[in-house]
């Protein structure tokens, strides 16, 4: 019994934790962007993809992963700045459905451009740390533990910024009531632009970090976007803590469920969890009823 717990359950809990962190990375940007500007960003997965490709490209020139990461993140942030300034800015205040159309089209364009630039082949990125550790009777790659660690640090940092800094207070003020925030002298467009940049940069960050595990190809964004959406909705759109919590739940459920049921059903289970959550909490676990 204890053996079962240690050698079967525990490793799965760890897998779930790592996987949950990765989902949280992508979902965080999505939920912050929605919470602030009501944008349902269907192209979020494409920023993740661009991040991975940028990392891959930099690695081709400078073979150091820890240089590639910040460069890729900055590139994605610049792309975010550009798209926000040229496209999204024109749609603020309109129905979120228009953002959906915009991001749907943008996603198509980014995928196609990526294929034109880098080709359709799957590209391999070597993990910066190749070592494995003996852990609970199995070999566990150190790089995954590293992702877990980096993930926790970044999440704590975001939480700290939003909660305890002046910038965070401004962002929260704009999210709550943009007219009032504007009246109080907060430069709302600046906040919008910078938050959008940071949100997609997070996705880009996740893209580079994940590239040694999932590799790099133009349609990699589609593979993650649905999962991220589910997490964001379960947690309550715009709710950072909710998204984190939901990421962990989804990660753990998928990992643990695959001990007893087939992975395909485990994946469908994710959608069923979403449906059940929505039935009992129509605005997500941490959302307030009546909130959009």
């Amino acid at each position: 019994m204890i053996d079962y717990l240690i050698y079967v359950i525990m490793p799965q809990v760890l897998h779930g934790l790592v996987w949950g962190t990765v989902i949280a990375f992508i979902a965080l940007g999505l939920t912050i962007i929605f919470g602030l500007m009501d944008i349902v960003n269907f192209a979020h997965g494409e920023y993740y993809m661009v991040g991975a490709f940028m990392g891959y490209t930099v690695l081709g020139v400078i073979p150091n992963f820890w240089i590639a990461v910040p460069v890729a993140v900055v590139c994605v942030a610049i792309l975010g700045l550009f798209t926000e300034y040229v496209l999204f800015r024109r749609l603020y205040g309109r129905d979120p459905i228009f953002h959906l159309l915009l991001t749907f089209g943008l996603g198509m364009m980014l995928r196609e451009v990526a294929q034109l630039i880098w080709g359709a082949d799957t590209r391999r990125v070597e993990a910066p740390v190749q070592a494995t550790v003996e852990f609970l009777g199995m070999m566990y790659p150190v790089y995954r533990l590293l992702i877990l660690g980096i993930g926790i640090c970044v999440i704590l940092l975001i939480w700290y910024v939003l909660r305890y800094t002046e910038v965070g207070a401004k962002i929260r003020a704009v999210a709550q009531d943009r007219t009032m925030a504007w009246a109080l002298g907060i430069r709302v467009p600046l906040i919008y632009t910078s938050v959008f940049m940071c949100g997609v940069a997070l996705a880009g960050f996740a893209g580079v970090l994940m590239s040694p595990i999932s590799f790099v190809y133009p349609t990699m964004g589609i593979d993650v976007i649905l999962r991220a959406f589910i997490v964001v909705v379960i947690g309550g759109l715009g709710n950072v803590m909710g998204a984190l919590f939901a990421s962990l739940i989804i990660g753990e459920v998928e990992a643990l469920a695959s001990i007893w049921i087939t992975p395909t059903i485990a994946e469908t289970l994710v959608f069923i969890i979403l449906i059940i959550t929505m039935i009992f909490r129509p605005a997500g676990l941490f959302g307030k009823a009546g909130e959009r």
């Binding site: 349902v40 269907f42 496209l87 024109r90 749609l91 309109r94 129905d95 979120p96 459905i97 228009f98 959906l100 159309l101 915009l102 749907f104 089209g105 943008l106 996603g107 198509m108 364009m109 995928r111 196609e112 451009v113 294929q115 034109l116 649905l226 959406f229 589910i230 909705v233 759109l237 395909t264 994946e267 469908t268 959608f271 069923i272 979403l274 449906i275 929505m278 039935i279 129509p282 605005a283 997500g284 959302g287 009546g290 959009r292």
Partner: protein
């Protein structure tokens, strides 16, 4: 919104309809075989986009899972034609029946969620449906290989039969199907029920005071939209001779929203135009340009930024009630 039969406008409306129908009826005589095929496909898809308008344009409810109904309608038709009885009518009835039940279940369960939450919830339901069919590989549905080899039926009209294997015949049937669907939807949105839906869109909280049940009105609109999407999917399968999981995929749900928005929602005819434009545009552009998704994506972006009321919005007269929400 001018009703179909309201007094002085009647003659003019009748004339416009007659001209459009006549033009559509003779169109295939000027097209070659492939363009006829493409035209049929575009017309069938136009009903799919129009059905979305019932919920999105009139009731103001965004749904991301509309492909579920299109796909289930298609599979229902496929099962009827291939395994049960080769009749287009029975296929349509089965498709309508299945999609009505599915839409009722989804609508009834989801309707408490608002706005984007409702949209994501419908997406989740649609994904579950998609996955069930996708993984049913050892059933007659064929799983990810799709249900192929669906025979094209004869259309029995009582006194004579139409051979639908002839593309031009199918074209005329598709035009009749689209026109009838349009008329029925027009009647629905012109009826008191349609006014309730518009009321819900404008201000949901006010409707109960007028003595109407918001929840049931929304569910009814959702079910009606589902049924028409199912009909459209059924016609698609009957025409293309297969039903594939691609018809259930969330990318199609996204695409149909795009079709509706490009045409201009809240007009019924707008989404139909949008569907025709996108279908033809995609097929043609992908022949001449390798990176056609880039062009189509750019088209979406241009439309949403410069033409928020869709293509139709550009030609709308000022006195027309602009319903782009």
């Amino acid at each position: 919104m001018a009703k179909l039969n309201s007094g002085s406008n009647f003659k003019k409306t009748f004339l416009v309809h007659a001209i459009i129908l006549a033009a559509l009826a003779v169109l295939p005589l000027f097209l070659n075989g492939y363009h006829q095929k493409l035209a049929v496909e575009a017309i069938i898809l136009s009903v799919f986009a129009m059905s979305l308008d019932l919920v999105m344009g009139y009731a103001g409810i965004a749904t991301f899972g509309h492909a579920a109904f299109f796909g289930i309608g298609g599979y229902a038709m496929g099962v009827m034609l291939k395994f049960l009885f080769p009749s287009l009518w029975l296929g349509l009835i089965l498709a309508g029946f299945c999609t009505a039940i599915l839409a009722f279940l989804i609508g009834f369960v989801s309707i408490r969620a608002k706005g984007i939450y409702f949209a994501i919830l419908t997406l989740a339901f649609a994904e579950v449906v998609y996955r069930i069919i996708f993984h049913s590989y050892n059933t007659p549905l064929g799983g990810s290989d799709g249900l192929v080899g669906v025979p094209t039926p004869m259309l029995h009209l009582g006194f004579f039969d139409i051979d639908l294997r002839n593309t031009v015949n199918f074209y005329w049937v598709a035009v009749a199907f689209a026109y009838l669907s349009y008329l029925v939807c027009k009647l629905i949105v012109g009826s008191p029920f349609g006014s309730i839906l518009s009321g819900i869109r404008e201000n949901e909280n006010r409707v109960p005071f007028l003595g109407f049940n918001v929840k049931w009105s929304k569910v009814t609109a959702f079910v009606l939209a589902g049924i028409f999407a199912g009909f459209s999917g059924a016609m698609f399968t009957a025409f293309k001779t297969y039903a594939d999981t691609e018809q259930l995929n969330f990318l199609l749900s996204g695409k149909v929203i795009v079709m509706a928005l490009i045409g201009g929602i809240g007009t019924l005819i707008g989404p139909m135009v949008g569907a025709v434009v996108i279908t033809i545009f995609e097929s043609v552009i992908s022949t001449y340009f390798r990176a056609h998704h880039l062009i189509i994506g750019a088209l979406f972006v241009i439309v949403v930024i410069f033409m928020p009321k869709g293509l139709l919005g550009l030609f709308a007269r000022k006195d027309r009630n602009n319903n782009g929400s």
